[in-house]
Symmetry: C2
C-alpha cells in the first residue's frame, strides 16, 4: 500500500476520534490490511491508541499484536487483564503468541498461559532460543498417518481451523510418528479420493532439527526454493514448520547484521528511528575501540617523529598509504563476509581464498602504487619520494588483501561472527603496517629525500 | 544436503565413467536432488559432462538447465541441436526457459522458439528487463473466470500439467479478463463443490505492474508475507506470477549489492570464485578513485607542511582525526543505506534523519574527543595538543555524521544508487575536513605547541 493511504487513514481516524465518533475511527482502521493497520496504529499517540484498543474485536486485536513490533506488542498486551490477554493469545498464530509471551514479565506470561485454551500449541515453542529453527517455527501444521486417503485428508483440512500460515503441505508420519513424506496440497486435490497419501507423497524429505541455527535453515530453504520446511525433534517427529516469510526475515536480518557489523554498528536492532541516546550508547564503544587502535597506529608514527621533523613532506602521504590499504582490505572483507554468509567458504577453499585475496591486493598495489608514485614524483619533483610511496603501497595492499580475508575466515572458524570486529582489526593492521612500511623505507632512503 | 554427500556422489560418478559404466554414473547423478545434481554436474570436467549429457532424459536435462548458473546453462544449451533444445525448453519452467533463451545468440534463440510447442508461455516473458516484475515472473499460473465452481476449478487443476512452481493460488478474472480476486488452494479444497469462486476469493488483491522494479516488488511481498504475487499489465490482466523464491533471490542480491557497494566493490556478481583478472579489473577503478581522493586530502595537508616541519608531533595525530571521522561516517552510512533499502526513509523524515545523524556525530565526538584529548595530554604532556585534537575530533565527527547521512539520501533522491560512491565521497570529506580542522586549530595554538 502507498504510504500516503496510511496517512489518509490516520487523518480520518484522528478527526473521527476528535469528534467522538469512535466507531467510525475503528471502521477506518479495520478497513486497512492488518499490516498497514499495525503501522497506522503505531503512529497514533497513546491517548488515541487507548481509545481504540478496547473497541477492537478479538480477531482484530490478535491481528494487531501479530503485526506490531515486539516491544509495542508487549506494551499493548500489558494493558489487558489476564482473561482478555488469554483470549487474544488463543486467537493468534502460535509462534506469534509465543513471541508475545516471551516479551511479557514471567508471572504475567504464566497466568495468561494458565487461562489459555490453545496453550498446548504455544507451550512447545517456548523452550527454544529465538535464533534456532525451534524458535522460528510455528506449530500450526497438519500431520497425517500413513494409510490416510486423499478424501480423508481433505476432511481433516476442513475440520482444522483455517490459519493464515497456510498449510501448502501436509506431513505424513509412520507408526512411530516419524516424518516419512510430504504431500503438496495440489497433489492432494487432483488425486483420486481413495488414493493413499503415501503413494502421492514425496519421500525425499528435506527438514531441519529444532536446535539448528536459523541462518543454516534459511540457507537450505533458499537453496531448494522451499515454501515451508518441517522441523523435527531428536526422534524424527515433526514438531513445527518454518514458512517462506520466516526465511525472508532471517535473510534480511542477517544482511542488516552484516552491513552494520562491517560498519561497526553492533546492534542489528538499531535503526534510524531509534532514540538518539540508544544510538550513541550502541555506537560509542566501537568508536572508543577505534580511537584506541588509531592511537596505536599513531604510536607507530611517533617512533619516526625525528624523521618527520627532518622531512615534513612525509606527513602528507601517510594517510594515502593507510587509506588505500584500508580500502583494499574493505573490498576483501565485503567479498569474504558475503561468501561466508552464503555458505560459499569451507575448510577446503579457505586457505586458497586467503592467498588469492593477498595476490589480488599485491597486483592492485602494483598498479595503483605505480600510478600514485609517478603522480607524486610529478607533483613534488622527487622520484625517490614517489618510489618509496609506491613500494609502501604495494606492500600495504598485499597485506590488506591477505588480512582482509584471513581475519573474517579465522573468526568464522573460531565460531565467532566474521563481520563483527573484522573492520577494526583489519584497519588497525593496515594502518600500522602502512605507516611502518612507508616510514621505514623513507628512513632507508633518507639521503635522497632531504 | 551435506556438501560431503555431493563429494561422495562425484567420486562414484568419476569412478563409474572411468570404468565405462555410463548408466551407473547417470543413476548416481539423477539420485541427487536437482539442485545438488546441478552442483555436482558443474564440478565435473568437460569430458565427463559431455559423456553424461546425451544420456540424461528430457526431464533431467530440463531440471539441469533450470538449476545451473546462467552462463553454464547457456553453454550446455549450445551443445544441443535446435530440435533437442526446443524439446528441453518445452519441458522447463517458462521463466527459466526465457532466461536460457536470453543468454543464447539471437539466431539460435529464434530457431529454438520456432521449434518449441510451448513458445506461447515463453514469448510474453522475453520483452521484460531482468530487474522488473515482468522479468522475474513466470507465466505458469491458473486464471479462472467468475462463476467457476470449486469442483470446476479442481477439474482445471487436474488438466493443467503439474509444475514445480506450485500454484497455491488461483486468480479470478472478470469479463474483461481483469484480476478481481485470489482464491487460495486451501479454501478451494475445503469448499463445497458447487461454491462459486467469487464467494471464496479474497478481493483485496495485492499485485505488481510488469514494469515495476523488482526491489519494490520484493519489499511489498515481504511486507505482506506473500507466497506469490500476481503481475498485471496496463489493462489490469494477470500476465504472470512472482513466487516467494524470487523474492528471496532479490533480497539476497540487493543485500550483496549494498554490502559490496559500501565497500567499493561495484559488481554484485563478483565473488570469491571469480577469476583473479576479473576481480582486479572490477576493483581497480575504485582504488584509483580512492587514490585520487587520498591525494586530494594529502594536498590539504601539504598546505601545512611548514607547520608540520616546526611541530612534527602533529603528523602523529592526523590519522587519528581522519580515522575516527571515517568510522563515524561509516556507521551513519550503514544505518542510512539499510533504512533506504528497507523503504524506511521518505521526503518527510529525510531532513530530520540527516540532522539527527549530525547530532549523534557531535555527541559521540564530544565523548570520544574528551577521552582522546585527555589520553594525548597524558601521553605527550601537552594539554593544548590534547585540546586541539579533541576539538578537531568533535568538529570532524559532527561533519561525519551529517555527511554520512546526507550523501546516501541525496543520491537516492537523485535516483542514483545510495550505496554506490557514498563511501568514497564521504571519506574524502571526513579526511579533508579532519586534516584542515586539526591543522588550522594547531596553527592557531602554535605558540603553545612548539
Amino acid at each position: 500500500m502507498d504510504p500516503s493511504q496510511i496517512e489518509l487513514a490516520l487523518t480520518r481516524i484522528r478527526a473521527a476520534l476528535e469528534a467522538g465518533e469512535v466507531q467510525a475511527a475503528i471502521d477506518t482502521l479495520t478497513d486497512l490490511h492488518p499490516v498497514d493497520r499495525a503501522d497506522a496504529f503505531s503512529d497514533l499517540d497513546d491517548k488515541d491508541q487507548a481509545a481504540l484498543l478496547p473497541r477492537l474485536d478479538l480477531e482484530a486485536t490478535a491481528d494487531l499484536l501479530e503485526e506490531l513490533e515486539d516491544e509495542q506488542a508487549a506494551a499493548v498486551a500489558e494493558t489487558f487483564d489476564t482473561e482478555q490477554l488469554a483470549d487474544v493469545l488463543d486467537e493468534m498464530e502460535p509462534d506469534e503468541a509465543a513471541d508475545v509471551l516471551g516479551d511479557l514479565p514471567a508471572d504475567r506470561a504464566e497466568q495468561a498461559l494458565a487461562e489459555m485454551e490453545e496453550a498446548r500449541n504455544v507451550l512447545p515453542l517456548l523452550p527454544f532460543a529465538d535464533e534456532t529453527a525451534g524458535g522460528r517455527m510455528t506449530t500450526s501444521f497438519i500431520a497425517l498417518p500413513m494409510g490416510t486417503t486423499a478424501s480423508e485428508a481433505i476432511q481433516i483440512l476442513r475440520r482444522v481451523e483455517p490459519s493464515s500460515e497456510t498449510p501448502y503441505y501436509l506431513y505424513v508420519e509412520d507408526e512411530a510418528d516419524r516424518l516419512v513424506g510430504i504431500v503438496g496440497l495440489r497433489d492432494l486435490v487432483i488425486s483420486d479420493a481413495k488414493t493413499k497419501v503415501e503413494t502421492i507423497m514425496d519421500s525425499e524429505v528435506i527438514s531441519a532439527h529444532t536446535q539448528e541455527d536459523q541462518e543454516d535453515v534459511a540457507l537450505r530453504m533458499a537453496r531448494y526454493d522451499l515454501a515451508a520446511l518441517p522441523v523435527v525433534n531428536d526422534r524424527g517427529v515433526v514438531v513445527g514448520v518454518i514458512t517462506h516469510d520466516d526465511v525472508l526475515d532471517v535473510v534480511a536480518e542477517e544482511a542488516t547484521e552484516d552491513i552494520y557489523r562491517l560498519a561497526n554498528v553492533p546492534d542489528p536492532d538499531l535503526s534510524i528511528n531509534s532514540p538518539i541516546r540508544q544510538a550513541i550508547r550502541m555506537r560509542i564503544p566501537w568508536l572508543y575501540l577505534s580511537a584506541a587502535t588509531a592511537l596505536f597506529a599513531a604510536w607507530v608514527i611517533s617512533n619516526f617523529e625525528s624523521l618527520i621533523a627532518e622531512v615534513a613532506i612525509l606527513a602528507v602521504f601517510l594517510s594515502v598509504v593507510a587509506g588505500l590499504g584500508g580500502n583494499t582490505a574493505t573490498q576483501s572483507l565485503a567479498l569474504i563476509v558475503r561468501a561466508l554468509a552464503l555458505g560459499e567458504i569451507d575448510m577446503k577453499n579457505a586457505w586458497r581464498t586467503v592467498l588469492k585475496e593477498g595476490l589480488t591486493g599485491f597486483v592492485a598495489g602494483a598498479l595503483v602504487g605505480t600510478v600514485v608514485g609517478l603522480a607524486v614524483w610529478a607533483w613534488k619533483g622527487n622520484p625517490v619520494l614517489g618510489m618509496v610511496l609506491g613500494v609502501a603501497l604495494i606492500g600495504n595492499m598485499l597485506v590488506a588483501g591477505f588480512v582482509g580475508a584471513l581475519v573474517p575466515i579465522s573468526l568464522k572458524f573460531l565460531r565467532l561472527d566474521p563481520a563483527l570486529a573484522s573492520s577494526v582489526l583489519v584497519t588497525t593492521v593496515t594502518d600500522s603496517v602502512g605507516f611502518a612500511l612507508f616510514l621505514t623505507f623513507s628512513a632507508l632512503a633518507l639521503s635522497n629525500l632531504r
